[in-house]
Symmetry: D2
Subunit: 278 residues, 4 copies
């Protein structure tokens, strides 16, 4: 009998070696997150030794309690509404009756395996990282495209590096949250630039994806409106992009398979950037 | 201005079209799961309309409470111990001190992008599905390999279809749990067969991956011992394999990126099987 | 130096000795409860030894996840609505906007220290316990009053023993839940009888307080409507009344201090019946 | 028909009117608490209107997720260990195996209905409130006893007012937590003074009951050791004592009925001080 050769070219390529960049953050108690969401907590209800079976085996297990918008995650289209309407025009209040968003919940986000583009904005504008509260403009995005030679195309996933991700592990979690300092990111104009390119999803290395002015917090989130509500473009937040940028990888196969949490407004995720190579 | 050509062959292949099979189950309240674990619950702390910002925007969010071994998930090596020892020989009780498994927790599972092989056992043995409590033997596995022409190789991920997944949506959740009926799967011998092939991970379409004798429940789980504790091979459970099998796809790029839940004994997941094609 | 004599007569009485009957159930994982509510779960995030301070001290702590209507609990007036209206006529849907019931939530239940009356119905009707699905009628209640000589007065708390509480510890939790068998209790007529007496609160030794017909589950709950919505009378459920009844105590100081869970629809509780005596 | 006279003197006294002081805090999301414990979260999985029964009735319910040492609560004897030993000398680590403290958990705290004494320390020492980080000494406690004429006796519950409770509602939750400022309370000497009087339980209007030096946090908690571990005296924390002190009530019937959370290290509570009067 014969063993199938790895006929599928995808497998042949994979067989030659893949390099995988983990774009997600570990989930730990106390990690920085928006205070608007239930915090991440993990416990071990059962530890090894609590119960030992007759055959000497023992299992440990977990209890997780968390909001879905903590740590690296993807926003479902049900997450944001504008003037009482969701993407597609449906009544946002009515959509939530019953305690879940049936039509636009996280369970409706198809697994993503698409071309991904990283726009390394600081590198493009000659900085180590964007300043707090800095607005990443369409001009900045264009500059990155030019410098890198990676133009986003329809259906792609575009990741925007601001450099803010370096604060994620700061012992003072408020630094990454950036309430007082402000946080860099695109604002409405940058969101429109992305929407014009008909991308499938966008992501950034900050909690809120878009620019937060110093002290403003989440008072206004125009990019969320433009992307989620007006164009049905998913937003991925709190990504880890430093390694990808440091490696100079600007184009890759982007993979994100959200948990199909029925009716939820988002899902925690661990996205990947995959390229060939050792 | 130049646009980068999709130089990476991975992207060229992807550009030609990919077919993605979702191997995960949606997470819903009341879904069938082992009673040993905290059940999955989801609520919307905030619904649209609860708080409307000055600019007319509103956001909804979630609270999730769950065990990690509910729904489709991957077991970390910290999940099971034998005679007080974990994979690698460490003291299992000591490893949990502090409330998390630092060395073998879910955060240590590298994202998986590897060759995957589906062994469609019922098809191989000429049945529509395996009987409850049926032990899938090495001979059955070999028969599937022969019939399909897909031999598992070192580093692969092997998924074993028993057909039991068809019960997942039964209104009586106890059917899928199979406490009284027993559940089909490999047992110790099948686990050794897999281990001999030095696979990276295995998965099945049942809650416990391995065979459960009628009425026995989880009293003895020898395959878990062989795979997790003795060989450090991950186990993926409660997978959705019917569509993959129905499509006759036995070889694919398998993708599973677990949530890096620090120190946890497992992670919920939504694995994918990816092949080229429209 | 002088020590105040226990001037307050309450303290003099207490000083002579009090007998306290615990009318609450322990909270354990797996205890019988309505499936409509998130189940009770408890874990120890931190156990002794996880962290030992320099001075040799160590603390353990808990994580509780639960619905409020599990185990012994009191329903707030926000719990039930009829035709879209709450007690007092307010719009029920509007009242919940924001994720909490500000006006009628559990935090508005004043601590209860009042005369309590136990109506031991089985004893009154010459049975050991009421049959499953048995409707406790106003005549039954009157018979108990007559037999005991304890007429409920305005402002009292009336507890109705059906005897169903004996099933609470049944290894098969479905017995106490009584979905198929039905559960004894008052229905609309008995609720009106209680309301006419302008009692402050009522309680029973069943999950749902009122009679459940075999197979009907919670399809219709007229007593809840009469008591909570029409008359603003609190309902206490899943009480432990066997000891109180066995001791022949039908009149007592009833004490229930609910947790002031802001905006919640109920609170877990551990009510007491207190009488003088050793 | 006869109505039983309220024969029990307790009921006669109660019939004359009782004044009830609520010594507990409402539970709200974001309330100040020690960061060592899972925070309090409440959501409404079901709101009115989510499901309307055929008879027009609808119910709303809750999901609570919380540590037990948040808000007003009582510490069980299982909460603290010293040099690996619990109260009574048992092995603390072994006691937690299985995920609950069977012998000294919250379920073993008997409902408390006892003489209570409030020692108003600021009033005794001529201040409006104790300074941050102030150690309440045995001399201070004696002065309060003298001034008030209320000496604690064996079996009593002693509540110590520092005045710190006035910070509970500060918009900056860190004020009440007092990490940097320190928090007033007894220390080891005061704890011994209480233990010598063989009181049943003690309480205070701070998170940690005992004095916290500025910046020290919970690094050392000698009063917990003396009271819980050495003498088996319960500790009640985060109490609301301002109203009781303002009313000049120093002696009362103290009532606290903890939730019988099996094997837990503490229980949320809503204690009461009860005296006769309108």
């Amino acid at each position: 009998m014969t063993t199938a050769t790895k006929g599928d070219p995808l497998l042949r390529i994979a067989g030659g070696g893949l390099r995988i960049y983990d774009l997600g953050r570990p989930f730990t108690i106390g990690m920085p997150q928006s205070p608007n969401h239930p915090p991440y907590w993990h416990t071990l209800p059962r530890r090894h030794g609590d119960r030992v079976r007759a055959d000497g085996g023992s299992a440990a297990n977990d209890l997780i309690s968390m909001g879905t918008h903590v740590g690296t995650h993807i926003d479902a289209l049900a997450h944001v509404s504008q003037d009482g309407r969701l993407y597609g025009g449906g009544d946002a209040a009515a959509a939530g009756v019953g305690g879940r968003y049936e039509e636009l919940g996280a369970h409706t986000i198809e697994p993503i395996v698409r071309r991904g583009v990283l726009l390394d904005v600081p590198a493009a504008i000659g900085e180590r990282h964007c300043a707090p509260g800095y607005e990443i403009t369409p001009a900045d995005l264009e500059t990155a495209v030019q410098r890198q030679g990676t133009a986003p195309e329809a259906g792609d996933v575009v990741l925007i590096r601001s450099g803010w991700g370096r604060h994620f592990d700061d012992p003072d979690r408020n630094v990454y949250i950036g309430q007082d300092s402000g946080v860099p990111g695109v604002s409405e104009a940058g969101a429109r630039w992305l929407a014009e390119r008909r991308v499938h999803a966008v992501g950034a290395d900050t909690i809120a994806f878009e620019r937060l002015a110093p002290g403003a917090g989440h008072a206004a989130l125009p990019a969320h409106r433009v992307l989620l509500v007006e164009h049905g473009i998913y937003i991925i937040e709190a990504m880890a992009l430093e390694d990808l940028a440091a490696a100079g990888v600007h184009e890759f196969l982007f993979v994100l398979s959200p948990l199909a949490l029925y009716g939820a407004t988002g899902s925690p995720a661990r996205p990947l950037a995959v390229v060939t190579g050792a």
